[in-house]
Symmetry: C2
């Protein structure tokens, strides 16, 4: 694979970005790094208290992958320092205190998950306790001298809490510095994050400047809408697809997305451009493509991303089968039948789906009879009734078999 | 000396205090300590960047001395930790960065100064780098979790700066925690300070509680009005008497206080009660005591406090002599006289204070002639004119001698 031109890299890496306050710097940094023959160092921080990644995280990871495909290095930072402290004020549910063992276990899980999207060969992993474990109070004060109270209170969540008189512990003001100083320690050229991270990313620039470094280029990526098509994807809302969901579940969850909710997934996770997505939308709108088929394409792509193409095909086929079964009515009468092998016509009569063998024969010959979605077209067929099997005769007549002991 | 009763201690130690939000706790703590046979630990923190103490500081030191006289222990903390950091944001002039050597030199000076008022036998001295030098970032975060941004922004000076959009570095929010945690480390029962220290003192209570300690009792003492009788005594206003001022200067500066400005000194530094001060005031008002005599009493007491009684007497006498000289008019004519020894009568004529030797003799015999406040009563006296000496004949006739080279 040849490295794309700088213009092409700029276009590709800036695609679908929300905030890009340093676009000109980014272009210059790309050129400078290329001239120096060095890759850019592109940082992503990970909170080790939530090791279960979902597709919301994949938006950023896909972008990091794009950087790697342009030859750059991803610097992945496990925030074990703060993870092991937790929130000593006990006010935050998102900062439980973790043991060294938990952090290491979570970091391992993380790594396993991100490497489904990232290239391990172009990824550096760091634990930030490396540099914070030994940091003294004196150096904390020096670090804290580079940021003002007004700056921190301008951060959206702090501003709201302050306005509503909800307590903000002083310790919480120290956490953005942790993330910012990570950028200094790994000499980040670029840091990516969700739109809610813009403040922290920009603070990294200030702290790098204070340490005599070129400030990192900051880009934020959109939050992915969840399976409900309304709220952002999050674990707490339950509207997510986890990296660790089995293939079948990934597929099924994707198929549950409302039709109008699909497009951001195509745009942000499958790398489709705006024009391509618009084309798909139009095809669905004018009926030239069925929404379910388009969604199947999406769902398979997501399973492929997380579990590979083979699993995707299997999941799609299995879903089709289950989906068909799902069209059964929910109030199928249960009929008790003998356990022994029997002719299909007798079984239809025993199950109350035909008044006699001649009606039964007509139904079989008409192609209306199925057992568990398997058509039985031979009136001489001999079957072994299975407990719970659904016997069907036409569109409206069903019976669930309860085999006599 | 017998220890005063608890009631008497309470009265004595609460006297002239401004803020005493924990009065009931104080009474209980006195009783509890007495029952346990232990002295109270009474804390005072010192800023090692300003080693030059003045009488404004003496208000607190006198109160600490009173605690010692009731058998309690003073815990004196040299804030060398913050002293050696300074203000890394460079925004504060009051936090210059000091070297280890400067801090030690300042601490020594401090010690020498406070022991003029405190009993060294009942004083513990600590340097807070003992416990902050090795404090990790993790423990800083734990400490910072016990205080909120709103609490800190409520501190008067921070509130003002925030309102005026003057930058407050995050590091500045860490400093009050330093003082508060000092209280934990020395297990302070009581902390004293100026009225501007109330916030920091109360924060010490919160941090002690968070560390499972009984919170310290907090008392603030009035700010002493300076020599101008208007503004608080401070080095920057130049209206101060320093502990290290020579005895003569202490005396002279005290004598320069306006009459109405004397009373706080009697009240806060000489241990006079309200009634006693009111009595003195009345005596001056009805003319039964001359204000200058009362001020002499004050000035001598202050010199005694800082330099001992003997120095006080000397300073008073010397001042009286200089003061008398000060009553000379400011436009004394300068007369040129020969350098040689001469009879007093010739000198009077040469200086133009007598028209002839007979008038001169009459003046001398009449006791009207003085050289530099020394009376010359013998018309045969021989004197050696000194350059700048003032020759006087009666209340209105003066000459300043300029000896011919």
């Amino acid at each position: 694979m040849t490295t794309p031109s700088l213009d092409e890299q700029f276009r590709l890496l800036s695609d679908a970005v929300v905030d890009q306050p340093n676009a000109a710097e980014f272009r210059a940094r790309l050129a400078e790094a290329a001239a120096a023959g060095r890759p850019l160092r592109v940082k992503l921080g990970a909170d080790p208290s939530a090791p279960d990644l979902h597709l919301g995280h994949a938006v950023v990871l896909k972008k990091l992958r794009a950087f790697q495909e342009c030859g750059h290095t991803v610097v992945f930072i496990v925030g074990d320092f703060t993870g092991m402290i937790g929130d000593p004020s006990g006010k935050s549910l998102t900062r439980p205190q973790l043991s060294r063992e938990q952090v290491m276990a979570n970091a391992k899980t993380y790594q396993e998950q991100v490497f489904r999207l990232l290239d391990p060969e172009k990824t550096e992993i760091h634990f930030n306790s490396e540099w914070f474990g030994g940091m003294t109070f004196e150096n904390v004060i020096r670090l804290a001298s580079h940021v003002t109270i007004a700056q921190l209170l301008a951060r959206d969540d702090f501003a709201k809490r302050y306005a509503y008189r909800a307590p903000i512990a002083l310790s919480e003001f120290l956490y953005p510095l942790v993330q910012a100083y990570d950028s200094v320690m790994v000499k980040a050229d670029v840091e990516l994050g969700g739109t809610d991270q813009l403040f922290n990313l920009l603070l990294g620039r200030e702290i790098q400047k204070a340490h005599g470094q070129a400030p990192q280029i900051v880009m934020t990526l959109p939050l992915l809408v969840g399976l409900d098509g309304v709220n952002k994807m999050s674990k707490s809302l339950g509207n997510y697809i986890a990296f660790n969901d089995p293939a079948k579940e990934v597929y099924g969850k994707a198929m549950s997305i409302p039709d109008e909710g699909m497009w951001p997934y195509f745009r942000l996770l499958l790398g489709k451009g705006d024009a391509e997505v618009a084309g798909l939308r139009a095809a669905v709108a004018d009926g030239s493509r069925h929404p379910r088929a388009v969604k199947d394409e999406l769902a398979k792509a997501l399973v492929t991303m997380l579990h590979g193409a083979e699993e995707a095909e299997t999941a799609s086929a299995e879903f089709a089968r289950v989906f068909a079964q799902k069209e059964l009515p929910s109030d199928i009468p249960v009929v008790s039948v003998p356990a022994a092998e029997t002719g299909i016509l007798s079984l239809l009569v025993a199950a109350g789906l035909a008044h006699g063998t001649s009606e039964a024969k007509r139904l079989v010959l008409g192609g209306a009879v199925k057992m568990d979605d398997e058509k039985i077209a031979d009136p001489k067929a001999v079957v072994t009734p299975k407990d719970g099997a659904v016997l069907r005769a036409g569109k409206r007549a069903f019976a669930k078999l309860a085999v006599q002991a």
